[in-house]
């Protein structure tokens, strides 16, 4: 559904994105994560056709990014989506539906449905008089008004309260279940981890890790076993009066256990640790900086 090849974007002398390549399958939720300035937003805006790449190609729904027909298949939610605050939610959505050539009756149904699903009240209230969460819901509804095949959500829950955030994450998951292809960017890696099928981690304009969460874990340490003992048999870290030994497979656990007993000690606990995306992200970002 989405194909990015050797994408490069340069502003003056500054390279925002360098040599990015990835693809997204139909119906997939694809995460793009990275620290500030990593090139995430530039990548997403290039896919939306807002930014012309300096080099490389971006194809969305079989058409080059920015192509008018491609834009009809796309719903884009930018990180900041200032709305026309003097308009009501309903008139705002109607206007965009008209721009996408959605017939009036279909637009009315679609707008009503989107606002119902987003639980947005006060539809005839001026947007300027709405709360931040309500405005974000209007922005999401606008991204859906053309019933797009592809959705690009850049930080959809940025700055919202936990309740609204969870609502939006759940809604994104519902959209994914309906078969929408979604590219999702968020600083809250828990959200990414909870809804994304695959992710790329970007740093300083380059993709530094990619794949399913399992693949990335495997590539960056995978599952760890923490063996707590009363004695240190090498490389342990003291924690709360116990020595924590970290190993990455069960054979090593057995070896530590045997050694501890040989030394007259005993194993007090064994814990399995699966690194979160955040751990990996911090690890990768740290490595990149180093």
């Amino acid at each position: 559904m989405i194909e990015v090849q050797n994408l490069r974007k340069e502003y003056g002398g500054f390279v925002a994105v360098e040599g990015s390549s990835f693809s997204v399958d139909r119906g997939e939720v694809f995460g793009v994560i990275g620290p500030n300035g990593a090139g995430k937003t530039t990548t997403l805006k290039t896919l939306a056709g807002l930014i012309e790449p300096t080099a490389g190609t971006a194809v969305v729904a079989d058409r080059p990014a920015g192509h008018p027909e491609m834009q009809r298949t796309l719903g884009f939610l930018p990180e900041e989506s200032p709305l026309y605050e003097e308009m009501t939610a309903h008139s705002y959505l109607e206007f965009f539906a008209d721009l996408y050539d959605v017939p009036g009756d279909v637009a009315s149904e679609r707008i009503a449905e989107a606002l119902d699903r987003l639980d947005l009240e006060h539809r005839d209230r001026r947007i300027g008089n709405m709360s931040k969460g309500m405005k974000r819901k209007v922005a999401i509804a606008r991204a859906l008004v053309n019933d797009p095949e592809v959705l690009i959500f850049d930080e959809p829950a940025s700055g919202l309260d936990p309740l609204t955030t969870n609502y939006i994450i759940d809604f994104t998951r519902e959209l994914s279940d309906e078969g929408k292809t979604i590219i999702f960017s968020a600083h809250n890696l828990f959200h990414v981890e909870s809804i994304c099928d695959r992710v790329v981690i970007m740093n300083e304009g380059e993709i530094v890790a990619r794949g399913t969460l399992e693949e990335i874990r495997d590539a960056h340490g995978g599952t760890e076993y923490h063996v707590y003992a009363t004695v240190d048999v090498g490389g342990a870290v003291q924690e709360n009066g116990h020595f924590r030994h970290v190993v990455d497979d069960m054979d090593a656990v057995d070896r530590i256990r045997a050694t501890v007993e040989d030394d007259g000690g005993r194993v007090t606990d064994i814990q399995t640790h699966t690194p979160s995306l955040e751990d990996i992200f911090l690890d990768v970002a740290g490595e990149a900086r180093a």
Partner: protein
């Protein structure tokens, strides 16, 4: 462009903008509209009002009811009626500037103002009579006699009386056609009667005093004016009333561009326009849709003013390119400004420059064809009852139309995420705008041609500003200005092309694009021959700008025709080579090109002279 999309965006812009205007603003706008309307109607109805009540006309208090000249006084705001007696007037105890009795005897108080009042009152009577005749149902009754007039030289002796502080000159007119009046039909032009008006009119017999001979009310005869100056008789003719009315067309534009600039800026500063750019609608459609309501609004106001002041279609057609240029310049300004503060500066600069550019030349509507560089001149002409040829219309409005087009085209080139929502330096945005229109060699000559309106307008402005200076001073300055403008038009887009990597930065490429830019400009320059329509080259300074006819020999003409081509190509190649080397290289090469160009111009003029 799809009209339906443009109309949709336009409707949205109107409804959205309406939501941003509060009641107080609406009240202010309505008040302003009323003010403009009142000024227009007032100026139309009674002139500019500067001469209202200027002269006091004395009438005999006892005869005022039966005095037919009272109607003349009351119908013209220039005059104020003062009931007095002849004795008081003659004795200097009255404030009246002139005195008229029921039989049509008119005398001034002997002062310069009195003389002017005398002349003005005679003219007023003429107009009054003319108006009466015009509304007369029976045309033959109104104009029963067909008169063939043959003007003859005559002695000016009698006019000397006017210098004595009286209106003797008026008296002399009695013999040339203003006769037949009951007030003094037997009057002569004997200069001996000239003297103190108070003394002369003191005869009171109604005969023999030529100064008192004025047309009868209802008589329909036309008297000649004396030379005493009235504000309306300033030479050269100054179409004050028409200018004031024409200015009314420009006033609303200054307000509309404030709103228009704000809406463009709003899209940028608050990043609200980003989502429109993602929708399946082109930048051109967005800009056209956002601009259309403001253009139609201005045209609506212009049409209303035209109807109110009884102008014609020419006024509306002349106002259209002015409105377009106001909007186009504001559009580009709003794209380049980095804050509302900067936008304010930009719109004020646009208001001042374009108002000056359009208004100042129009002052000289009746003096010089250079005035036609402003479409406002066409409006003044229209309001004066004159018509304009198609050539004059094209000459006057062409630069405005094409300039607007170029500004919109360049502005739309940077109506994109990268330029709308970033704080790039203005020169970088200008380079972006130019580079956005370069997608190959073919665009290089095209842009050179498109810049011709700006060169044309710049040169005409320079001519207009410099024509009053002595030729030995004006010409060198003009040559330099011309060179700078033309070299800029040939090279700035070439520089943008190199700066944004549209061309390979090599010597060969620079020569190619330089040649194309120079040749394109040469073709565009020929459009300036439109000035032939209005005879501008008749002026010496105009000749310097647009070239004289040096020969009628075909070979010589051919050489003269193509030598500028060589010049333009050579200097454009110089600039292009510099542009391919970067900003500093371009600056140096551009300076060299300007010097070569100026030297060429001076050389040609040297040969001609």
């Amino acid at each position: 462009m799809r009209p339906r999309r443009i109309a949709r965006v336009a409707r949205w812009e109107v409804s959205r903008s309406a939501g941003t205007v509060d009641r107080k603003t609406i009240l202010v706008l309505v008040a302003m509209a009323l003010l403009v309307g009142v000024v227009g109607v007032s100026v139309l109805g009674s002139g500019a009002g500067l001469e209202d009540g200027l002269y006091r006309v004395g009438v005999d208090a006892d005869q005022s009811d039966g005095n037919p000249y009272v109607d003349v006084v009351e119908s013209n705001p220039q005059f104020t009626l003062e009931e007095t007696t002849y004795a008081e007037f003659a004795g200097g105890d009255s404030d009246a500037d002139v005195f008229v009795d029921g039989s049509g005897r008119l005398g001034s108080d002997g002062t310069a103002k009195g003389d002017a009042a005398h002349t003005a009152f005679r003219d007023a009577i003429d107009r009054y009579n003319h108006d009466l005749m015009r509304v007369e149902v029976d045309e033959y009754a109104a104009y029963p006699v067909l008169v063939s007039i043959q003007y003859q030289q005559r002695s000016q002796t009698g006019a000397s009386g006017s210098n004595s502080g009286s209106s003797a000159g008026a008296g002399s007119n009695a013999g040339d056609g203003s006769s037949g009046s009951t007030g003094g039909g037997s009057g002569s032009s004997d200069p001996s009667v000239s003297g103190d008006a108070r003394t002369a009119t003191g005869d009171g017999d109604g005969s023999g005093d030529s100064r008192l001979q004025i047309p009868d009310v209802g008589g329909g005869s036309l008297g000649e004016s004396v030379d005493a100056g009235t504000p309306g008789a300033i030479s050269p003719p100054f179409p004050f009333q028409s200018l004031v009315l024409a200015f009314l067309f420009v006033v609303p534009m200054n307000f509309v561009i404030q709103a228009y600039g704000s809406t463009i800026m709003d899209e940028r500063i608050k990043r609200r326009g980003e989502l429109l750019l993602v929708a399946p609608i082109t930048s051109t459609e967005i800009v056209a849709g956002k601009t259309l309501p403001y253009l139609l609004g201005v045209l609506g106001i212009v049409a209303a003013i035209t109807v109110a002041i009884e102008g014609g279609l020419l006024s509306v057609l002349a106002a259209l390119p002015i409105a377009l240029l106001f909007l186009a310049a504001t559009f580009v300004g709003a794209l380049l400004a980095r804050s509302f503060k900067e936008l304010t500066f930009v719109t004020v600069a646009i208001s001042v420059f374009l108002t000056t550019y359009t208004f100042v030349p129009a002052i000289f509507t009746d003096v010089t064809p250079i005035a036609l560089i402003s479409p406002l001149t066409l409006i003044v002409m229209d309001l004066q009852g004159e018509s304009a040829t198609l050539g004059e219309y094209l000459f006057s409005t062409g630069a405005f139309y094409l300039g607007s087009l170029v500004l919109f085209v360049l502005g739309i080139g940077i109506y994109r995420e990268e330029d709308l929502f970033t704080q790039k330096p203005i020169p970088a945005k200008v380079v972006d705008a130019l580079a956005s229109r370069i997608h190959g060699y073919r665009h290089v000559p095209l842009l050179s041609i498109l810049f011709i309106p700006f060169v044309f307008a710049g040169q005409l402005l320079a001519v207009a500003l410099l024509f009053a200076l002595p030729a030995h001073l004006a010409l060198p300055i003009l040559f330099l200005v011309i060179s700078v403008l033309e070299e800029l038009a040939k090279s700035v887009h070439v520089y943008a092309g190199f700066a944004r990597s549209r061309f390979e930065a090599s010597l060969g490429t620079a020569v190619v694009v330089g040649t194309l830019a120079g040749a394109g400009f040469f073709v565009g320059e020929k459009f300036t021959h439109v000035v032939q329509f209005v005879g501008l080259p008749d002026l010496e300074i105009g000749l310097a700008a647009f070239g004289p006819a040096l020969s009628t020999e075909p070979l010589v003409l051919a050489v003269l025709f193509f030598v500028p081509l060589v010049l333009h190509v050579v200097t454009a190649v110089i600039s292009a080579i510099g542009a391919s080397r970067g900003r500093t290289g371009y600056a140096i090469a551009f300076t060299v090109a300007v010097l070569v160009h100026t030297g060429y111009n001076l050389g040609v003029i040297g040969l001609v002279s």
